[in-house]
């Protein structure tokens, strides 16, 4: 790697105590390493790295961390249940987070997610939303926008056959066991800071043993969207945020 490229990479991805190697989120322009970096920086700022255990699902979200923390990569979907097992095994003496894609979290894993939220499980779920199934080559996701072309909706997502985009943090905000639910994006420096801000509150809720916390992050998938990195960031700002508004949908100091 040339010096210049190394400097550019370091500016984007690192360096970080928790991040010994550059992101495994392989594709050019992928947003996952940025989300991972925002989460890891927040963990460092909260000074909780030694207590964190991460649980990853299967999909592009699997490769995005590459860190020095304790953690596990397990089946596609049940990360909130695995996190529940870890939390109880250690008698709550750990900060347990899950990092999941939109398919992992909101399709195959939606049951586990809802049940963990209903139990007010003291875990924090981070959901990467890139509006498609990245690892398997760009198929329909529960978060795919109406009209969006994927390899399994070649004519665009139409609702009669393929239903409607799912709004996870809004849905979770209706649940009593959820104490924090928010959506951010990774498309601008301001939104990168917003992601860190939301992550910090979500993790603090767990540190304070308040309840279940959740953050969704909109992130680009250049390869499957067939876009240049800059255009993909623009598409998030122009199309995705219109469907998925950013903000905090629930933030309470205690379960009512």
């Amino acid at each position: 790697m040339s010096d210049k490229k190394a400097i550019v990479k370091e500016k984007i991805y690192g360096p970080s105590e928790l991040r010994p190697r550059y992101g495994a989120g392989g594709c050019r322009g992928c947003g996952h390493p940025l989300v991972a970096k925002a989460i890891l920086e927040t963990i460092e700022e909260l000074d909780i790295a030694g207590r964190v255990i991460y649980v990853q699902g299967i999909g592009c979200s699997t490769g995005g961390l590459g860190t020095k923390l304790d953690g596990t990569v397990q089946a596609h979907g049940p990360a909130p249940a695995v996190a529940t097992g870890i939390k109880h095994a250690l008698f709550d003496d750990a900060i347990v987070i899950t990092l999941q894609g939109d398919g992992d979290c909101a399709a195959i894993g939606s049951g586990y997610l809802i049940a963990a939220a209903a139990r007010a499980q003291r875990i924090t779920v981070f959901m990467y939303n890139n509006a498609n199934y990245g690892t398997t080559g760009g198929q329909l996701a529960p978060t795919t926008l109406l009209g969006q072309v994927t390899t399994t909706t070649p004519a665009g997502r139409e609702p009669r056959m393929f239903g409607y985009p799912i709004h996870v943090p809004e849905m979770l905000a209706t649940m009593r066991g959820v104490v924090y639910s928010a959506r951010s994006a990774i498309n601008t420096p301001a939104n990168y800071q917003r992601t860190k801000r939301y992550a910090k509150v979500a993790l603090q809720k767990q540190i304070d043993d308040v309840g279940f916390s959740f953050v969704e992050v909109l992130t680009p998938c250049t390869i499957n969207w067939h876009m240049e990195p800059v255009d993909a960031m623009k598409w998030i700002g122009e199309e995705m945020i219109a469907e998925y508004p950013l903000g905090e949908f629930k933030n309470v100091a205690q379960i009512d």
């Binding site: 790295a49 030694g50 207590r51 964190v52 255990i53 649980v55 299967i58 699997t62 860190t67 020095k68 923390l69 304790d70 953690g71 596990t72 990569v73 397990q74 089946a75 049940p78 249940a81 695995v82 996190a83 529940t84 097992g85 870890i86 939390k87 109880h88 095994a89 250690l90 008698f91 003496d93 750990a94 900060i95 049951g111 586990y112 049940a115």
Partner: protein, 357 residues
């Protein structure tokens, strides 16, 4: 029996787990083993343990996976349809080599089948059950005492081999009560679980990753080979069976679980008439005691496999005898009545024995 307590199978299993130091239960109610779940719900909070009622058996096994990554002894208990739901998680447990214990109290299948006893999960349990080809150690008690003892053994073997161990029981064994010695078993020391996830602060900054994707880094074949070498080691060292009046037997009954009790009754009747009948009862149904079966086949024994199914373990007996012996089968159709309450009784087995000798 001195120092014995009269308890049910559904009390012996959870008590065995508690006495093995298990403080974590994750499960979903299903008949005919709800009393086990309820026992844990009552007892674990008193001991500072954690009882979690999961949203499904798939979630229960995922929680079990999580607890095992953190290095604690944990358990889930279920019955056949729930066993079916767990297979995805079990395959991941196998690949990640996590020590876990699951109890399957068999009921009749397939599908919703019946909520009553049967032995129709044998092949699913002994062949792995889920995708990919792996092995669970499977212990099959035939008494309340063994329900208690084998549950303790299950935790030891799980930790010894970093493997899933199944206690394969059934609806009958759950509901019977017998005098049971509640004595904690002393097992040899086990290595420390230095791989367990606890947060790096508790491990001097050292971190571990337990990942089901570990074969993706060009190491798939290498890991698979090591896994199967472990299975071979278990096969070589952990076979357990009971041989009863087998030395001079011309006919050997092969049975496990509640059916083995009926067979013991049949043997008493047969011996009273001078018929040379014995029993080989696999206690580990995986690894299966092929060697003793093969030996007996070479000596000219005939076999009668008795199981409360349409014929599953009989396949293992065929493998063991290598075509050297006559094998007969008495199964679920020989129950004393055709409804779901029907059982395989000693008299039925005895009648069959008389036909064969």
């Amino acid at each position: 029996m001195e120092d014995a307590t009269l308890i049910h199978g559904y009390e012996a299993i959870p008590q065995g787990a508690l006495d093995a130091g298990c403080l974590h239960f994750f499960g979903y109610p299903i008949t005919p083993q709800n009393e086990i779940t309820e026992y844990f719900a009552r007892e674990l909070p008193k001991r500072g343990g954690r009882f979690v009622q999961a949203e499904s058996e798939s979630a229960a096994v995922a929680m079990l996976f999580g607890a095992a990554t953190a290095g604690v002894r944990a358990i889930t208990t279920t019955a056949s349809p729930g066993w079916g739901l767990m297979q995805e998680g079990i395959s991941h447990i196998a690949w990640c080599e996590l020590p876990c214990v699951i109890v399957d109290c068999q009921r009749g299948g397939p599908g919703q089948g019946t909520t009553r006893h049967a032995q129709t999960d044998y092949l699913s349990v002994t062949r792995g059950g889920g995708h990919g080809g792996y092995k669970n150690i499977v212990l099959a008690p035939d008494s309340v005492q063994e329900c208690y003892d084998l549950t303790q053994l299950a935790f030891y073997l799980a930790d010894k081999y970093d493997n899933l161990v199944i206690v394969l029981s059934d609806g009958i064994l759950m509901q019977i009560a017998e005098p049971t010695k509640l004595q904690t078993i002393d097992f040899p020391p086990l290595p420390e679980k230095d791989w367990a996830l606890k947060g790096t602060a508790k491990k001097g900054g050292k971190f571990s990753t337990i990942h089901s994707t570990r074969g993706l880094a060009g190491t798939y074949v290498q890991i698979l080979k090591a896994l199967h070498e472990k299975y071979q080691k278990i096969t070589d060292s952990e076979v357990r069976f009971e041989a009863s009046q087998a030395d001079d037997a011309e006919l050997l009954l092969i049975a496990y679980g509640y059916v083995a009790r009926s067979c013991k009754g049949a043997i008493s009747m047969a011996r009273a008439e001078g018929l040379k009948v014995g029993l080989i009862r696999p206690i580990t149904v995986w690894p299966f005691p092929y060697e003793i079966i093969n030996q007996k086949a070479s000596q000219g024994c005939k076999f009668l496999v008795v199981e409360d199914s349409m014929g599953q373990m009989v396949e293992d007996v065929k493998l063991g005898t290598e075509g050297k012996a006559e094998i007969h089968f008495l199964g679920l159709l020989a129950r004393h009545q055709s409804g779901e309450l029907g059982m395989l009784f000693p008299e039925t087995v005895f009648t069959e024995v008389k036909k064969l000798l």
